[in-house]
């Protein structure tokens, strides 16, 4: 088990380091001078040169990266080019918003996918199965930003049940917070459930055709007991693997959904960084989203490793 954890943790750190290099290089070749964006189009060449020298933008990329990495490892994400405000505290204020959004969306996706996937598998080949598969196909084709727009149109503008945007922290007003997060989470969760329904269905069908399930039936176990106690647990491992990827996808999709619902999360910070050519902001926000994804993958890798007896055996050997 120790070996499993060490290997996965090592791979996680290496990937994170490599991801930071890729993001740093990609973002630092952004067209359009950051100096012009911060100082205005009328900025003199001298002012631009001074701006770049003050922020180390005139140094070689490798040196810039080394300095950025050194500071970031100490928790210093630099200062915004646009308003000279430290990026770290701003990022920390936004992280809980994105975490709440992605987590709620993930819960909704699973609440939709697990029962529907199980139902389709249990009724394999019958009408319920076909209806579920069709639903998954429709969900999978809906762009989440369109679903978000339709939800605003119906639930906000027509029925006036939910606010069309904004964010109130849970600690300030829990009811308002839940009202504001529901539509964004639904927009992401329903679309994400499409793949998860299919995976749950496929995984469950495979499990239900296993030898030990037939044995359980032969011993007189009811359909409900077989599904709940045997098939569901064993179908979870492949499901979890895909669900982790989907969870990562949710963090990425936050870029679009946070913009629509005016949620002050990390995703909308990516757009702020792009629009303002604010390298420190964009880099910190993009890396944070990547970190979320990698952490989720690491947790699932470890969980699957610990859940799967074959893997545990393999890691000991």
């Amino acid at each position: 088990m120790v070996r499993l954890i060490t290997t996965r943790l090592g791979a996680f750190l290496l990937t994170l380091f490599a991801a930071s290099v890729v993001l740093f290089l990609t973002i630092n070749v952004l067209p359009g001078s950051a100096a012009k964006s911060a100082l205005g189009m009328e900025a003199t060449p001298q002012a631009i040169a001074r701006f770049e020298a003050q922020r180390g933008l005139d140094r070689p990329l490798a040196v810039q990266y080394g300095q950025w990495l050194f500071k970031t490892l100490q928790g210093d994400f630099g200062v915004s080019f646009q308003n000279s405000v430290p990026v770290g505290p701003e990022l920390m204020r936004r992280v809980p918003v994105t975490l709440q959004l992605a987590s709620f969306a993930f819960v909704i996706a699973n609440l939709v996918a697990i029962p529907l996937g199980m139902l389709a598998a249990a009724r394999h080949g019958r009408r319920a199965d076909k209806a579920t598969t069709f639903t998954a196909t429709l969900f999978g084709a809906v762009p989440n930003f369109w679903l978000a727009t339709l939800l605003i149109l119906v639930l906000s503008l027509n029925l006036r049940w939910l606010p069309s945007g904004g964010f109130t922290p849970f600690s300030v007003d829990p009811v308002q917070n839940l009202k504001q997060i529901l539509m964004p989470a639904l927009s992401l969760g329903i679309v994400s459930s499409a793949l998860l329904i299919r995976i749950m269905r496929a995984s469950m069908i495979e499990t239900l055709s296993s030898e030990y399930i037939r044995t359980a039936h032969a011993k007189g176990a009811t359909e409900a007991v077989v599904i709940r106690r045997h098939a569901f647990r064993n179908s979870l491992i492949p499901y979890l693997n895909v669900a982790a990827v989907e969870f990562g996808f949710l963090f990425g999709s936050a870029v679009v959904i946070e913009d629509i619902f005016r949620l002050p999360g990390v995703g909308s910070l990516v757009l702020v960084g792009i629009i303002n050519r604010d390298y420190p902001v964009l880099l910190a926000a993009a890396l944070t989203i990547t970190l979320f994804v990698l952490v989720v993958n690491l947790i699932v890798d470890l969980t699957v490793g610990l859940l799967d007896p074959r893997r545990v055996k393999g890691s000991r050997a």
């Binding site: 890729v22 952004l30 809906v142 762009p143 996808f249 792009i274 990547t290």
Partner: protein
């Protein structure tokens, strides 16, 4: 069975045919847009601003009085172009990387596939957004950015398929008779790994449409006045109360085209590997 006529099993092909019909209609709109569209997608009409669907404008008009139907038809061109070019970039480069990795193995395989895994660790939309910021906002750059996003997926698939093909006797025979690497790859390997890659390409088409729409929606893809389903939907957001059709119609176009490609992909997958359906 009635469904099996002249040896053609309609039931097995129904997903491909349904998806193909949807995509066929969209493709016809894209190719013949200037002849099909009732109005120019750019012509402003100040007396016909934000008009609801009517006989003159079947899908209504936008905030500048432009005909929505004409803009939707013209926007199909952009979506189809982006989908085709982005999927092709992903298919060509991804396949090349995957095949080279599997064929040469060892350190080449290790380096290339680790690089692909690294790209895979970024959420697709984040990678596309950051690449667009880096490349600059234009439709050509959207095609390149989305194509880059697809490379890791195609490379993984191509590598896995090549590893299987490399074990086949005909590849070993080709090596034994001294055939060069290039000929083995192009004549023996590529034709035998094409089927799963083409299924993936259908899925990539649908995902490319989604990504392009998302980028244009965020203002990073096609730039106004160029019509794109994504930027039309974004504009419509500002007029949701007065003109809901501005938000509904472009989204429905994205939904239908993604659905069409997904049905083709699902159908092809079922046809090529019936066990996948289970």
């Amino acid at each position: 069975m009635i469904q099996v006529m002249n040896g053609f099993d309609w039931r097995r092909w129904r997903l491909v045919l349904t998806g193909g019909t949807i995509i066929g209609i969209i493709l016809i709109c894209a190719i013949f847009a200037p002849w099909i569209a009732p109005y120019s997608p750019y012509d402003l009409d100040v007396v016909a601003m934000l008009q609801p669907p009517s006989a003159a404008h079947p899908l209504g008009t936008d905030e500048l009085g432009r005909d929505i139907l004409s803009r939707i038809i013209h926007a199909a061109r952009i979506s189809m172009q982006v989908a085709f070019i982005a999927a092709s970039v992903g298919l060509v480069f991804g396949t090349l990387i995957g095949v080279v990795a599997a064929y040469f193995g060892g350190i080449v395989d290790l380096v290339l596939m680790r690089l692909m895994e690294l790209l895979f660790s970024f959420p697709a939309i984040l990678l596309a957004v950051v690449l667009m910021a880096s490349l600059g906002t234009s439709i050509l750059n959207a095609m390149i950015a989305i194509g880059i996003v697809f490379i890791p997926g195609f490379s993984r698939l191509a590598r896995a398929a090549t590893v299987v093909v490399l074990r086949e006797q005909y590849v070993e025979s080709a090596r034994a008779i001294g055939m060069g690497h290039g000929r083995i790859v192009f004549r023996e390997i590529l034709p035998n790994i094409l089927a799963p890659l083409l299924v993936e390409a259908a899925v990539a088409f649908s995902y490319a449409i989604l990504l392009e729409s998302a980028l244009s929606f965020l203002g990073l893809g096609a730039q106004p006045p160029e019509p794109s389903w994504g930027n039309m939907l974004n504009t419509g957001r500002g007029f949701m109360a007065q003109a809901p059709w501005l938000s509904i119609v472009p989204g429905a176009a994205i939904f239908l085209s993604v659905l069409g490609f997904n049905l083709i992909g699902d159908g092809l997958r079922d046809l090529l590997d019936p066990h996948m359906k289970e």
